[in-house]
């Protein structure tokens, strides 16, 4: 398996880069990312907030995984923990493993981690204005990481930046290298962010609500771009979103998070056609959808997510769950397999375990 080049590279640096990339990708049936029992707490005067609590998932090379949940569910902290970007203090990764391309990221030194981040993991955040440096031209910002991490010359980095801007669909890319972030519209700024994230041909792109601040037609443009880039360059993507529709259209697999836990995981069709965790089902039903005839009341989830300061030993969704029974309030279920069409469908629910009471 060889990784195609990110952009049309005709320079010598490019040829060297392409060879190195092919080399990098010469790994067989190993997973790109294996996260095991990752826990990240925030230590406050009131106690430890279990923002991410024993989260486990895998990601294949080139795969797109959706990390879906509402605000406060822990999806962003999960991503920040993988990249070791959690603000410390008050946060701390208290346990777990993050094996990325064969390396346990949690054991790397700060300096080593910085190299992995710059070179192999790209980030796209919700608000491009706060993640772009307003005082540097976009050409400089895109070229900089290519110079640092790929050792490109100034001229080569500029060519690389122009190619990337073109790749992410910015018209007259070469003329815009000297422009500053404020000279771009919201959608175009997000394209610049994606160009920066892709500058070093990362193996993993973490996109945290990349289109939440954008209008729906611009969102469609950005999603189309991410889809084609990940397909073309076989970049794996973790798409963090609260929008189940986006996950349905973008991802091969989806993990649903609730109150710091992953509560359901599986192939995208299984999750949407036959959710095996009442929270997932409720999330699907609580929003008006274009594909369902309107009328009547929307199903709602009463109550609020639990306080994550020393959470109780019960199922975290139990207090709001219409299907709960005694056991749900006594013990929290584990993630266990559910028979489904696709592989690896797991859920954290007593009611849908074999012999459970939820059909």
């Amino acid at each position: 398996m060889t990784r195609p080049e990110l952009v049309e590279i005709s320079t010598r640096e490019g040829a060297r880069l392409a060879a190195q990339l092919a080399d990098d990708a010469d790994r067989h049936d190993r997973r790109l990312l294996h996260v095991q029992d990752l826990s990240t707490y925030f230590f406050t005067p009131g106690g430890a907030v279990h923002a991410v609590d024993e989260v486990s998932f895998d990601l294949d090379y080139g795969e797109t995984l959706g990390l879906v949940g509402e605000s406060g569910s822990g999806k962003t902290v999960t991503a920040l923990s993988i990249a070791r970007l959690v603000a410390e203090p008050p946060g701390r990764i208290v346990s777990g493993e993050v094996i990325f391309d064969g390396i346990d990221l949690l054991r790397l030194s700060r300096e080593e981690m910085r190299l992995v981040r710059g070179r192999k993991i790209g980030f796209v955040f919700q608000d491009p204005m706060t993640s772009l440096n307003p005082t540097l031209t976009v050409g400089r910002q895109i070229g900089e990481s290519a110079r640092t991490h790929l050792g490109l010359s100034r001229a080569a980095a500029a060519r690389h930046a122009a190619d990337l801007l073109g790749t992410v669909g910015i018209p007259r890319a070469r003329d815009r290298l000297g422009d500053y972030p404020h000279q771009f519209s919201g959608g175009m700024r997000q394209r610049v962010m994606i160009a920066i994230a892709l500058a070093c041909q990362p193996m993993l792109l973490i996109a945290d609500e990349p289109t939440t601040a954008l209008d729906v037609t611009i969102q469609a443009q950005i999603m189309e771009l991410l889809r084609s880039l990940s397909r073309e360059f076989r970049t794996a993507v973790i798409l963090i979103t609260h929008d189940l529709g986006l996950a349905a259209g973008m991802c091969q697999r989806v993990s649903v998070m609730y109150a710091g836990r992953i509560v359901e995981s599986g192939v995208v069709d299984d999750i949407f056609e036959r959710p095996r965790m009442p929270y997932t089902a409720a999330l699907l039903d609580s929003r008006a959808r274009l594909d369902i005839e309107p009328g009547g009341r929307l199903r709602t989830i009463e109550g609020l997510p639990p306080d994550l300061l020393d959470p109780a030993a019960e199922c975290r969704f139990a207090p709001r769950c219409p299907h709960r029974r005694g056991i749900c309030l006594e013990r929290e279920p584990d993630m266990t397999p559910r028979p489904s069409a696709g592989d690896g469908h797991t859920a954290r629910c007593w009611g849908t375990e074999p012999g459970g009471w939820i059909p």
């Binding site: 729906v216 969102q219 609260h242 959710p275 594909d291 369902i292 709602t300």
Partner: protein, 365 residues
Amino acid sequence: MLGYRAGRLDPMIDPRMDEAPLVEAEGLKVHFPIVSGILQRRTGSIRAVDGVTFAIARKETLGLVGESGCGKSTLGRALIRLRDATDGHVRFEGRELADLSGRELRRMRRRMQIIFQDPFGSLDPRMTVGAIVAEPIETHRLARGRAKEERVRELLTLVGLDPAFTSRYPHEFSGGQRQRIGVARALAVEPGFIVCDEPISALDISIQGQILNLLMDLRERLGLTYLFISHDLAAVRHISDRVGVMYLGRLVEIGPSSAAYTSPAHPYTRALLSAVPVPDPAVERRRRRVILVGDVPSPADPPPGCRFHTRCWLYERLGRPEDCRLVEPELRSVNGDHAAACHYAERAMHSDLGVVETALEAERP
């Protein structure tokens, strides 16, 4: 009191001819000046709302969709005179809002209210919930003392909050609860018409349904008329009898929700619909999308002719017809009260782009 003044509305935009509309806009324009230089000279204007005509019937919900900067919020504010019109007419129960004296306007304000998007920014953090809800009752001198307190408790109950919450402060509440407080405050003066300006956009998904249900219940119980402004096309269809689509200050399509969503007659409506993600992977794989090219042009300098032609897929498909560049299309009926502002609306209607097939109900236990 003036009687209902017959408007010059085109019958197709007037929803129920047998009954006088509650709210009417006619040729409504709201422009904001652009000033620049040390002399603060006016160098141009943002044409936020630029010639919009429609009416809302009593007890009707009109949805208003469009992307940011299309003018939908400004239009909503102009309808209740939180913004003054630059040109054109706004009538409420047949009375021209611009002609009202200060006192008359204040009295009229009792009849129309607004619910804002941001349940955090729109409530004064130093006031208790009781004081927030009581304020409009005091302003309009609707009740005093015990009767006022009783009314506040009644309102909180009405929106699904515990009436014992009156002495708490906004920060003690979640986003959804705060939005309920905002609804209670709007209802305090017993309005007939409420502008709901993105009322669910700031809320978590699981809470959005609660607020939509609440607004629909209240509409039923109190006979309310809504202008429901949102960029969430699915939510708008869910709650609205009719829907209007705005682009760059113009109403480009208006009609019954069922018609506007199943056979959209403006290419922009089709593009918008096709951009909305659907939480069904099978549907997502099947559907054909129109991906619009480029950004929305500036409302200070809208393109000549049809404002959408610079991004229009149909314009391209038809070989860039000249009239789209030269002649601004007016809203015209394509089928009864379904109207669109497109020279080629019939062609747009017969495309299948953008429309999502609907199932009657989710097939889920």
